[in-house]
């Protein structure tokens, strides 16, 4: 029972990060190969606060999320202002993520590459579920707000959106910061669940896993990526296939999705759509 519980918690923590990336990639249309770095910032900030300074857990969690948002400005401001080609942006943020990891591996306070053991296990299922539910609610409202509409407009056509008066730089930056805050929150929860973090847990592979869940789930859907991330994390854990073969299958899956179903599991639609009579209630989904 404990084992299944821990899988569910891990999957939910991962879903929070995927939710954040979904706002940035799925709804704003910018690909990131470095969001694991924001998870790392959240994890390390909150863990260091509770570990060395005995800051209350919730405060540390908030600080981790805020720190991730701030760090995202460091890479977001120059690259988004320069309006890089989308694939150049992905490479730039990849470089940022790797650089950040090298820094974490060499700082005194992070205990270097050996990692930080013995973090208190504050993260419980209710905490994670509340965070996830809150995250979904905020994300939904954000996407229905003017800012969210601007993000979607940019995804559909940046040039047309700019013509229509959407400020590209500000909207994209906002979307990046929001997504980084989600990742930071996820990191904080992760650190206080595993009670051990290490820089090597936040590599390019992790960034790809987050991105893969968003793409597999469907760009422009909230429920799709959440389901995909649950399947990615939960299923192999539950079946307990050897760790290595799991990653082999995961790489293969990524290729197959790109080749056969690039619109992802849910395409542009939401899960709730299947429970309603009229197929397209918000007029936002596109087929």
């Amino acid at each position: 029972m404990d084992y299944i519980l821990s899988i569910v918690i891990l999957a939910c923590i991962n879903m929070i990060a995927v939710l954040g990336l979904s706002i940035f990639t799925g709804f704003t249309g910018l690909f990131s190969l470095g969001h694991a770095a924001f998870v790392a910032v959240g994890a390390y900030t909150s863990a260091i606060l509770t570990y060395y300074y005995y800051v209350p857990f919730y405060l540390a969690l908030a600080a981790g999320a805020a720190a991730a948002g701030l760090v995202s400005l460091v890479i977001g401001v120059p690259t988004l202002r320069a309006k890089l080609r989308s694939d150049y942006f992905a490479i730039a943020i990849l470089g940022f993520g790797e650089a950040l990891r090298v820094i974490l591996e060499n700082l005194e306070i992070t205990n270097g590459a050996r990692g930080l053991p013995g973090i208190d296990g504050f993260t419980t299922l209710p905490v994670v579920l509340v965070c996830l539910a809150g995250g979904v609610l905020v994300a939904r409202n954000f996407l229905r707000s003017r800012w969210g509409a601007a993000c979607i407009a940019i995804r559909e056509d940046p040039v047309a959106a700019e013509m229509a008066g959407v400020r590209l730089f500000r909207t994209r930056l906002l979307s990046l910061v929001v997504s980084a805050v989600y990742c930071g929150l996820s990191g904080g929860l992760l650190a206080h669940f595993l009670s051990f973090i290490q820089p090597v847990m936040f590599t390019l592979v992790q960034s790809t896993q987050l991105l893969a869940a968003v793409i597999a789930g469907g760009m422009g859907s909230i429920s799709g990526p959440l389901i995909a991330s649950f399947v990615f994390i939960g299923l192999p854990e539950a079946l307990r296939v050897a760790q290595m073969w799991r990653l082999v299958a995961y790489g293969l899956l990524l290729v197959l999705i790109m080749v056969y179903r690039p619109q992802g599991l849910m395409g542009y639609s939401e899960l709730s759509r299947f429970f309603r009579k009229s197929g397209n209630p918000e007029g936002r989904s596109r087929s």
Partner: protein, 294 residues
């Protein structure tokens, strides 16, 4: 003494830069034709190294044959990789990011396949060259470093000649500037792209063998190609002379940073360089204008 260290650092930097250049050339070649970042290039380099290793240890072949076998092996793997993972995306003109993600999937797949079947052990190549050292201006330089550098230079020169002088090379350059037009003029695109991947794979094979000899062979050795992306960006993505210059430059600058500043900061420095270039000079030092078209 100071001058000796300087010269030593310079030569070490050039020899590492030569390997970076070999990797960057293959990566740039694919980028110039298909306009996407082939993240699977590192995995092909790794497989090339394993092919070379198998030939060297199991069949105990000499260096020349090992190199040739590894070039052929990696070339074929690269072509298969394109056929299975990219060709259908390419035909339906999918966004380049889909190709990138597919490439990432290939990298994860291949790397972990090796990890699961061969294992995570580190293997060393047999000693092809006794660790001979020659002395240049008071500093000692390993013969392997010089050889790798010269070979990289020669191979890239050869590729340049091939691209500029032969019929196939002209077709490749035509494909770089306009794929559709090129196919309308009667060029078989599938064949052309297969040749491009064969060449890129061949260079990956050479890079893999040199990396394997200089360091070791292990499943994640392909991650060094991060450096090749940086080199390619510095020199201008898609430009071959740029890949050579960018590789050498990055190798030298990195070696200087690690021996005069701090070896820890080396990678941070390189990635910062990457971001700086992407932001301020996305076309590299010599690349031509390539803004995303509306």
């Amino acid at each position: 003494m100071w001058a000796g260290l300087f010269l030593q650092t310079l030569i070490t930097g050039l020899s590492i830069g030569g390997i970076y250049a070999l990797m960057a050339v293959g990566y740039s070649l694919v980028f110039s034709v298909l306009n996407f970042s082939n993240f699977a290039h590192g995995a092909v380099i790794m497989l090339g190294a394993y092919v070379g290793l198998a030939l060297a240890t199991k069949l105990s072949l000499g260096f020349g044959l090992v190199l040739a076998g590894s070039i052929a092996g990696a070339g074929i793997i690269a072509v298969l990789n394109e056929r299975l993972a990219y060709s259908s995306l390419r035909r339906r003109k999918a966004p380049s990011l889909y190709l990138m993600i597919s490439a990432m999937g290939c990298a994860v797949f291949l790397e972990n396949l090796v990890y699961a079947t061969i294992g995570s052990r580190f293997y060393a190549f047999p000693e092809f060259f006794a660790r001979q050292v020659i002395s240049v201006g008071g500093s000692s330089v390993s013969l392997l470093d010089v050889g790798a550098f010269l070979f990289a230079l020669a191979a890239i020169m050869g590729l340049h000649l091939f691209i500029t002088r032969t019929r196939t090379g002209i077709a490749i350059r035509a494909g770089v500037s306009d794929m559709t037009m090129c196919s309308l003029m009667g060029v078989d695109l599938d064949r052309l792209i297969a040749i491009v991947f064969l060449l890129a794979g061949g260079f990956a094979g050479v890079a893999g063998v040199f990396l394997g000899i200089k360091y070791l062979v292990y499943p994640t050795m392909g991650w060094v190609t991060n450096k090749a992306y940086i080199a390619a960006v510095i020199g201008g993505l898609g430009s071959l002379p740029g890949a050579l210059a960018g590789g050498l430059l990055l190798g030298v600058v990195e070696t200087f940073v690690s021996s005069y500043v701090s070896s820890v900061m080396r990678d941070v420095f390189s990635f910062t360089l990457l971001i700086a270039f992407l932001v301020w000079r996305p076309n590299g030092l010599w690349g031509q204008d390539s803004e995303e078209k509306v």
